[in-house]
C-alpha cells in the first residue's frame, strides 16, 4: 500500500516538472510581453513585471501592420479550411458511397500521395504559382491547399462508419446525392467535420514556409511571417517580440482551450498530423 503511494507521488512530481517545462514558455511569453525593456534583460531574470506595460502592444501595432497580418491570416485560414473541407467532403462521399471505374486505382494513388512530404514539393509549387502570376495574392497563398487528401482520407473513414443502408434509404426516399450530402451526411458527421475544420484552421494559421515563399510585400504577409520579420526588425526589444508572439498564439490557444476535447480526439482518431 505504501509502495503504491510512493509511485504515485513520484509520478505527480515528474508530471508536474514536465508540465511546468511545457507551460512555462507560454506563461513567460505573456508575462514577458508586459515587461519593460529593463526588466527583460535584468539579472536575475524578472518573472512577474512590476507594472504591466500594456503600451508594448500599442508599440507593436505601430511598428508593424499586425492588424493587416491578422486579417490576412484570418482570410487565408478561413478560405483554406472551408474550401478544402468542402472538396474533401465531396471526394470522400464519392469514394464511400458511389461505385465507379478506377475507384481502386484512385484510392491507391491517394494513399501513396499521403506519403509525399510537403517540403519536397513546396519549391516546385512556388514555381507554378510564380508562373501563374499569383505571387503576393490571396489566391496564391491558398491555391495548393484547397483540397487535402489527408482530410479526405480521414473523412472517408468517418463516412464509412455510417451504415450503407442509410444512403440506400435516402435514395428510395427520393433524395438526390446533393440532398443526401447536406441533409444527412453532413448533419450526421458534424463532429468529424468540425474537428477536421479546426485542425485545418490551426495548421493554416501556423503555416510559415509557404507564405514566406509566395509573399514578399508587407501587406500580404501572414502573422507568422510578419512576426518573424518583426522579430528581426525589433532587434533587441525582446518585450515587443514577446508581445507580438502572444498576439499570434493567443487566438489559437483560446480556440484550443474551448475545443480541446474535439481537437485531441480528432488527432488521435486517425493519427492526424496537421
Amino acid at each position: 500500500m505504501k509502495k503504491l503511494h510512493v509511485g504515485t507521488l513520484v509520478a505527480y512530481i515528474i508530471l508536474t516538472i514536465f508540465a511546468i517545462i511545457t507551460i512555462f514558455p507560454f506563461i513567460y511569453m505573456i508575462l514577458g510581453g508586459l515587461m519593460s525593456f529593463q526588466e527583460t534583460t535584468a539579472i536575475p531574470p524578472t518573472i512577474i513585471p512590476k507594472h504591466f506595460q500594456w503600451g508594448n502592444y500599442a508599440k507593436v501595432f505601430k511598428q508593424a501592420p499586425f492588424a493587416r497580418y491578422f486579417l490576412n491570416t484570418f482570410i487565408v485560414a478561413s478560405v483554406t479550411t472551408i474550401v478544402s473541407l468542402l472538396n474533401s467532403l465531396l471526394g470522400a462521399f464519392a469514394m464511400v458511397n458511389l461505385e465507379f471505374k478506377g475507384k481502386k486505382i484512385l484510392q491507391m494513388v491517394m494513399l501513396s500521395l499521403l506519403m509525399v512530404p510537403g517540403e519536397a514539393i513546396i519549391f516546385t509549387n512556388y514555381n507554378t504559382i510564380a508562373r501563374l502570376g499569383l505571387l503576393n495574392t490571396y489566391l496564391g497563398l491558398v491555391l495548393p491547399f484547397l483540397t487535402s487528401i489527408f482530410y479526405m482520407y480521414y473523412l472517408q473513414s468517418y463516412f464509412g462508419s455510417i451504415s450503407k443502408t442509410i444512403y440506400k434509404a435516402s435514395m428510395i426516399d427520393g433524395a438526390s446525392d446533393w440532398n443526401y450530402i447536406w441533409k444527412i451526411l453532413v448533419p450526421m458527421s458534424k463532429g468529424g467535420l468540425f474537428t477536421v475544420g479546426l485542425l485545418s484552421f490551426i495548421s493554416s494559421w501556423n503555416s510559415f514556409l509557404w507564405p514566406l515563399l509566395v509573399t514578399n510585400e508587407d501587406t500580404m504577409r501572414l502573422l507568422n511571417n510578419g512576426l518573424s520579420s518583426f522579430a528581426s526588425d525589433a532587434g533587441a526589444e525582446t518585450e515587443l517580440q514577446l508581445a507580438a508572439a502572444t498576439l499570434t498564439v493567443l487566438p489559437i490557444l483560446i480556440l484550443y482551450f474551448i475545443f480541446r476535447k474535439q481537437i485531441i480526439q480528432g488527432v488521435v482518431r486517425n493519427d492526424l498530423k496537421g
Partner: protein, 366 residues
C-alpha cells in the same frame, strides 16, 4: 406486349432476371415470377440465396445483369429508385439518427419530386404515424426508441410517399422473439388495410408461412418453389424444399427401387402400395431418398420398421421421439400424452400417401 390483358392481375413481374457481381459471383440465375396486386409475398431462403439481391434489384439499388422487371406492365429496369414508387424497410431500419421521428417520416416528402409544403408533408406524415401508432413518439430521436418502435417508424417512412409496392428486408430479425410474433401480425394487417403490394424478405420459414399470401423460396440464386404456404409442406417441389421447410425437419431415408418395391435398410414397401395419383416421375430402378415428415411417421402396432428411441424432447404441445435409423438421426412427432420413453423399442409406420421420393439430383418423383 403479349400479356397486356394480365397487367392488372400481375402487378410485379420479374422475367429471366440474372445478376452476376463484379467478383464473378452469380447471385441470381434466370429468375422469373410475378406478384398480384395487393398480395403480400415472402421471399424465403437461407442466407446468400439471392433473396436480398432480388429485393435490391426491385428497388433499383442494384442493376440486373440481364432480364427485366415490370411494375404495372412497365419495365422499371432503367428507372431510378426514387421514381419507382416503392417503399423500403431495411433490416436495420436505416433511420436518420439526427432527425426526430416526425422528421424521419416527413423526409421523403421534403426532398425530390415528392416535395410538398411543410404543412402538407407534416399532415401526411402524421396520418401514417397514426396508422403505425407512433404519434406520441413524434419528437423523439431514433436512438431513444425500442426496436419495435424503430420498426414502426421505418414502416411509416416507407409508406408516407404512398408507394405502389412495399419492400421489406428481414424487418423482424432485430426484434426479440415475442415482439417478432406481435409485429408480424401487425405488419400483415397493416399492409392489407393499406392495400399495398408487399414483398417481404425473410430467412424464417415460420414467419413466411404465417404472413405470406404466397412464398417464393430461393436457393443458390434459383427459385425452388413459388407457391402458397401449405404446399411447401404438402407438395414440395424438390429435396431442398422438403428439407428447408418444416420444423422439426423432415426425415430422410436412403432407399433403392428394384423389383417393384422400395427397399430401405430394414423395410420394404411395394410400389403398388403407393398412391398412384401422386406419382410424378418414372420410378425406374435405382437409388432414391425417401422423405417423410415427422408427423407422418408414427408409432403403431404394425410398423414398417422397429427403432430404439434415443431421446424424447418436449416442444410445447408435442413430443419429438428421436431415433437412429441406418446411422442417421430421424424424428417422429407425437402428441404430448405418449408414454414412450428413452430406450423403448418402437414400431414405426409411415403414411404412404404422405411420403416423398427424390432422385439423387433432388427431383421429386413421388
Amino acid at each position: 406486349m403479349v400479356c397486356i390483358f394480365m397487367i392488372d392481375e400481375q402487378f410485379v413481374q420479374v422475367k429471366n432476371l440474372r445478376k452476376v457481381y463484379d467478383n464473378g459471383h452469380e447471385a441470381l440465375k434466370d429468375v422469373s415470377f410475378s406478384v398480384k396486386k395487393g398480395d403480400l409475398v415472402c421471399l424465403l431462403g437461407p442466407s446468400g440465396c439471392g433473396k436480398t439481391t432480388m429485393l435490391n434489384m426491385l428497388a433499383g439499388l442494384l442493376d440486373p445483369t440481364s432480364g427485366d422487371i415490370l411494375f404495372n406492365g412497365k419495365s422499371v429496369v432503367k428507372v431510378a429508385p426514387k421514381d419507382r414508387q416503392i417503399g423500403y424497410v431495411f433490416q436495420n431500419y436505416a433511420l436518420y439518427p439526427h432527425m426526430t421521428v416526425l422528421q424521419n417520416v416527413m423526409f421523403p416528402l421534403t426532398v425530390g419530386k415528392n416535395k410538398r409544403s411543410k404543412a402538407e408533408a407534416e399532415k401526411v406524415a402524421k396520418k401514417y404515424m397514426e396508422i403505425t401508432q407512433i404519434t406520441e413518439l413524434a419528437n423523439q430521436k431514433p436512438g431513444n426508441l425500442s426496436g419495435g418502435q424503430q420498426q414502426r417508424v421505418a414502416i411509416a417512412r416507407a409508406l408516407v410517399q404512398e408507394p405502389q409496392i412495399l419492400l421489406m428486408d428481414e424487418p423482424l430479425s432485430n426484434l426479440d422473439a415475442r415482439l417478432r410474433l406481435k409485429i408480424r401480425e401487425e405488419i400483415r394487417s397493416l399492409v392489407k388495410r393499406v392495400g399495398i403490394t408487399t414483398l417481404f424478405v425473410t430467412h424464417d420459414q415460420e414467419e413466411a408461412l404465417s404472413i405470406g399470401d404466397k412464398i417464393i423460396l430461393f436457393n443458390n440464386g434459383v427459385i425452388q418453389q413459388d407457391d402458397v404456404g401449405q404446399n411447401f409442406y404438402l407438395e414440395p417441389n424438390n429435396y431442398f424444399v422438403a428439407n428447408f421447410v418444416g420444423n422439426p425437419v423432415i426425415d430422410n431415408f436412403a432407399v433403392k427401387i428394384a423389383d417393384g418395391k422400395i427397399s430401405g435398410s430394414d423395410f420394404e414397401i411395394p410400389l403398388a402400395a403407393l398412391d398412384q395419383d401422386r406419382i410424378k416421375g418414372e420410378l425406374t430402378p435405382g437409388e432414391y431418398t425417401l422423405s417423410v415428415r415427422p408427423e407422418n411417421i408414427l408409432p403403431s402396432e404394425q410398423g414398417h420398421f422397429t427403432a430404439k428411441i434415443s431421446d424424447v424432447e418436449l416442444i410445447g404441445r408435442e413430443r419429438i421421439l428421436k431415433f437412429d435409423h441406418d446411422g442417421i438421426q430421424a424424428r417422429s412427432l407425437v402428441n404430448l400424452e405418449t408414454t414412450i420413453q428413452r430406450g423403448d423399442q418402437v414400431q414405426l409406420s409411415m403414411r404412404l400417401d404422405r411420403i416423398f421420393l427424390f432422385t439423387k439430383e433432388g427431383t421429386r418423383v413421388y
